[in-house]
Symmetry: D2
Subunit: 289 residues, 4 copies
């Protein structure tokens, strides 16, 4: 059985690492602020002082870091992943990073004769705790197979999508659809409301039919309360729509609806809603001035 490492114990990483440990795997963890390691140690994890130590001690190391910058520092920094890398070892980066960062890390690990897997996840805190994330893997197929027993503790749906970059691309496609759905959902609610229908009833009708989905249900209830506390900030959604439209430029795929949604999110972002949840688009679409 593989020895697993886990780097990054934030909200997501902590829950994911705990699921690995609870499933009986031998796990060594590291976090920049060491006190976050204590709860994992109580569950039975070993604690290491640097990413390098983790990589050296384990066959396969998972990472769940806050952003591209953190992902790069942990990989390329002093006592980082690369310093511990040696032929055959696996590195599975589950952080959400841009394509360029992913490619740089993949190249560096491969040059050190290690194996690399990009594995961004879809899902937030609750699915992380429940081990029901969707994990979008791309890169070394052998590593994907070997990491399987670990990944299956963290996710309910684990997909292998091909070469490095395809995991991030899948996430972009899904987020683009999410943004487009949100835009037309807001428009429908606003149109109905202007036309004398009760928005709560519209939600009820939608939820009873073929369009029923967790996002309309969850976000819809919040939107009617004007509760736009950020879960996925509007500016990040607009960034993903922008990247999707650009990918369409690159691949010569017209995207009239996604482009229209992008402009509406951009207008919402400009109107002061950038840091609210992306469902705050509703506020821009409804307003009369």
């Amino acid at each position: 059985m593989s020895r697993f490492g886990f780097l990054g114990l934030g909200i997501m990483g902590r829950a994911m690492a705990a699921n690995l440990v609870k499933a009986g795997h031998e796990v060594t963890v590291w976090n920049r602020t060491p006190n976050r390691c204590a709860p994992l140690a109580e569950l039975g994890a070993k604690v290491a002082g640097t990413p390098r130590d983790v990589v050296e001690a384990c066959d396969i190391t998972f990472a769940m870091l806050a952003d591209p910058q953190a992902a790069q520092e942990v990989c390329f920094g002093d006592d980082g992943v690369l310093e511990g890398m040696s032929p055959g070892k696996g590195y599975v980066d589950m952080s959400t990073v841009d394509a360029e960062t992913s490619r740089q890390i993949a190249e560096a690990v491969t040059e050190a004769r290690g194996r690399f897997l990009e594995a961004p996840v879809s899902g937030t805190k609750k699915p992380a705790e429940d081990g029901t994330l969707i994990i979008l893997c791309a890169g070394d197929k052998g590593l994907f197979d070997e990491a399987g027993p670990g990944l299956s503790c963290m996710g309910k749906k684990i997909l292998y999508l091909g070469e490095v970059g395809q995991g991030a691309r899948m996430k972009l496609v899904v987020n683009m659809i999410m943004g487009g759905m949100m835009a037309v959902f807001c428009e429908g609610l606003a149109l109905g409301e202007k036309g004398g229908l009760d928005p709560a009833t519209i939600l009820e009708v939608l939820d009873a039919g073929a369009l029923s989905n967790p996002m309309f249900r969850g976000k819809g209830a919040l939107m009617l309360k004007k509760d736009y506390a950020p879960n996925f900030p509007l500016k990040h959604m607009q960034k993903d729509l922008r990247l999707a439209v650009s990918l369409g430029d690159e691949l010569a795929q017209p995207l009239h609806s996604a482009a229209a949604a992008n402009e509406s999110f951009k207008a919402a972002r400009r109107s002061g809603l950038a840091d609210q949840d992306f469902c705050a688009l509703y506020d821009w679409i409804r307003k009369d001035s």
Copy 2:
């Protein structure tokens, strides 16, 4: 207990009337081609020779007719609904008709001192058989209450939305959201496919997350097989988007995403897909010329 009538025994009407009868109600049915009445008679329904006879024999008469023209003929024609109407009787038109037709029928019934309820449904053959339609009622509130025991045999979700016209309006809002979702769904699938992702895997990822919905699941599978057999024809979806955008003009509600979707469906309609299912939009969005 009210005596119920039922006019129109097509695919939908037959199943709906059967559910009324099976629930133990006293039901009198009529259909333009009389042999369609036989299965209902076997279940215990009475059969009448004209709409007028049905209305005269019953307290509340439901109608499920093919289109606005049929709805008008059955109401205004010789031996039609109006000839049997008298003070206090109820007429519940569940057909999908335009706002103008609905208003005309409402006025005529009301002038004859009858009571009128517009009650278009959301859902197709299967929910009609299972008694799980969504029924969008608008018009006479007293009639809505009295028709309740009948409606609840046919639908799982029965809503009262206010004055005549609001039922049709709710359906328009829902269909507009459906069209917009379909447009961005097609764009996402096409973008992913051009970018090297397997469309079947995209469906799998979508279905595992917060966007999961019966339409993506059902239509998605057909789209990958290029099975565009018409369930809801593309030209009808485009018509609903057009009506929704026009309603936005009337109510001064901008609808950038719905308008973009409308133009894409229009282009698809022009390209020869008018009579295919509305998910055939995928064919237009994917194609390279």
Copy 3:
């Protein structure tokens, strides 16, 4: 030489009728408020008391009325055009009216065995005074030819476009292009301004190149001064865009850009700019909330 009549001496009609008289034609005029006739009488026109009198006294009667309602009253009202109509007489309606009004008047005139020409104009006060209007004729070709000596006093460009309705349709196409040009013009100015360019310099560059046109020049200068005094009200532009998009629905012609412009004008209309000039779209496109 034909005897000409002229009905309606508003800002436009007064100037047009004056050009007819100055060119040496025999002209009989009428206006609802009779004192408007005096200046024409001074130039040599005869004055009549009713539209009927004008039509009876003349071979061809031109009309330039304020709106569809006025056009209908003057035609169908007591002592109106129809009462004076007789076989062979011509009626040339130069008012801007909807297709339905035009069709009704055409039918009534034709039934009275008169001849009808729809002839909406493009151009405002100055071209009317200078006799340099663009006149978009449609209807009776023989009448078009006979009216030529009169029309050529009023316009520099006189076109025959076919059956009744095509004049209005041409005007719609031109206004749609005008609305779309204005939308992207506003976007370009706003983008440049946000990017540190001086809008006045952008106007200068545009005016020096292949895009140079009187609208950018004239409206552009006003827009930089935020002078939105209505010449062509924004709500009328949005109405024309709406009608053009609907015509696209009818003819199965996708209009992605015009539809996007329509939604932006709609949003501007909602934001309180409905009665400003249509170039006030700039205000909506620039603003940050």
Copy 4:
């Protein structure tokens, strides 16, 4: 009086350099293929063997090179501009290059203590020959003033727009407006044509009114003949629209119309029209499949 250099004698550069010489300036020219220099020599220009020689011999050197790659080679290559640069000398790059290339050249020239001016032009062969280009300058203000006597031989409109990058940005704004105008122009022609109007007549009406502009006139005539010989290739127009929309993302300026035009040009590009003139968009907008 400044001694001027000129690098690059293609279709544009040849005409521009000739205007400099004819105006009586002392001009030294260079071209990669030396035989292009002969006509200039006949007019009185000196000929140099390398860009370095030109820069060393002159106070101010103009360059008009084919693309960003050529601009970089001429600047950074062996015997290139930088090798001849010394304190106080001026370099005016009139080539159309991306912002990044412009910035790199600007930095290198400035580090060598030379002075830099970015000066892309608007206009093609004919205005280059007539000395009626529009020249969009940005960078060193002192150099702009000193280069004035030279620039005024080449252009009728010479603008100073601020720091390096603003020249390219102005060009982007103008091209975005051009693309948006073309999109709605094509839509209007197609709509009119479908509605029974003669496209040639639509052009005539447009040209007689407030929208009249050289592009509609020139391109319109070609479009009706389906003559799409590339003057400005469609793929380049789509690239500029993409860059403009991205600039809108960066500056938080929504651009609904430009974004819609971008998607339509993208679809046209995909349909096989990438290398045709950008007015070939008409072909995509008109076609029925």
